[in-house]
Amino acid sequence: MYAVRNWLTGGVLMMALIAAPAAGRASSTPDSIKLDSLEQLYENVKFNHKKHIMLVKDCEQCHHHTTGTLVQDKNCVRCHKNSGATAVVSCRGCHAAQTFTAAALREKNKNNYHMDKLSLKGAYHQGCMGCHSKSGGPTGCQDCHALKKTGEALYNAGGNAPKHAGNAGKHGGH
């Protein structure tokens, strides 16, 4: 029994050692990321990270000072001139989903810096839309966010479109 267990442990360790560099790279640079924080209203967004790396090349543009080359933004440089890569690189590692709750506001006021840090949703949208509008990427809401039934209900769109007005002209013959 023990022999088998030792062998297994050893095997697993060996595998881990071999896989470690690859796994490290893979975990820091995923090829595709599923963005699902708004899944109550919209279908998930499949973010093609690999493609964006090829297009943008410079990690700093999205990841600030947390990975890749040193940060360029003159406001960030004031403190982060020499800041190297950090352990947390993912957007949701720093940008919280809820930033306006009473607890979050209390926490926010304790910090002298980064008082104005965006929520995850704000960071995604300002990051994506800011770049897309300059570089000609898709900028329409539904280019990324297909509405679910709940989303249609919220926006009075699709199957929930207003019936009394607007459509009246389209049924001219009745």
Binding site: N75, F100, T101, A102, L105, K108, N109, M115, D116, L118, S119, K121, G122, H125, Q126, M129, T139, C141, Q142, L154, Y155, N156, A157, N160, A161, P162, H164, A165, G166
Partner: protein, 309 residues
Amino acid sequence: MKRRDFLKACMICGAATTLGVSKKAWGAGSFEGYPEGMGVLVDLTRCVGCRSCEAACNKEQKLPEPDAPFNDQSVFEDKRRPTEKAYTVVNRYETKKENGAAGGPVYRKIQCNHCNEPACLTSCFVNAYTKTKEGAVIYNPKICVGCRNCMIACPFNVPGYSYSSAFNPVVKKCIFCYDTRLKNGKPPACVEICPQEVLTFGHRKDLLKIGHERIRETPDRYVDHIYGEREVGGTSWLYLSGTPFEQVGFDTTMGNEPIISNVKEFLGTVPMVLAIWPALFTGFHLLANRKQEHGEQGHDHAKKEDGKQ
């Protein structure tokens, strides 16, 4: 409120104002909002005109079905204002590319700005309005008599009116989601849904710091002014813009004095007029009449004498 009740209340109010108004009017110095008052910083440079705030407001406040879907961009062809069916609307302004300004469309969200010293509250003679300690300007539709004074008083043209209701028309406006969210420490529905974080919710005093910090960090992006910091005595909702405010539909001619300052001196004279004038003129009347009676008596006397002759 029934008509009879209203008239009854009018009679009582008429008497009450004689004593009450002056204290209230003179008491309003420069009130800068409650210390823990909340607010929202609206950053127009971030808005992309998705109208999600309108959709969220509609559902949160259980407003009637809109005329067009909330993802229909054709509504931007007109300049809209808040109504009984929509407590917030977004308007689009085309701006020119000049003097470093980026140009292109600028979107502006309109809703109640929740003034520190609300003109609507001042103008309301049934006291339907309340400025809560959280910063919201709310109203009690059960007290509202539908006089529309607040619609005239509001410097931002915000309150809408339920013209659709034949029997009990009342004023309708944004209440900062007070009942369902704000009083529980939650941000209003529009803030929560905004994808671009155009809307930043927080304590008003912190938002002013954040606003000035954004201007300082990126001076090319903003006009060096926070609209609502001082306008008409300050508002809970504050605006940052990259284009001059007057080009995107803001009234920049209102000054920094609260609306009540324009009327409080006049209102201060009202009780004086009501209390002193009746006594004064009654006195005049009596004096004048006494003389007249003397004259008439004399005349009558003369007449009688004539008759005798």
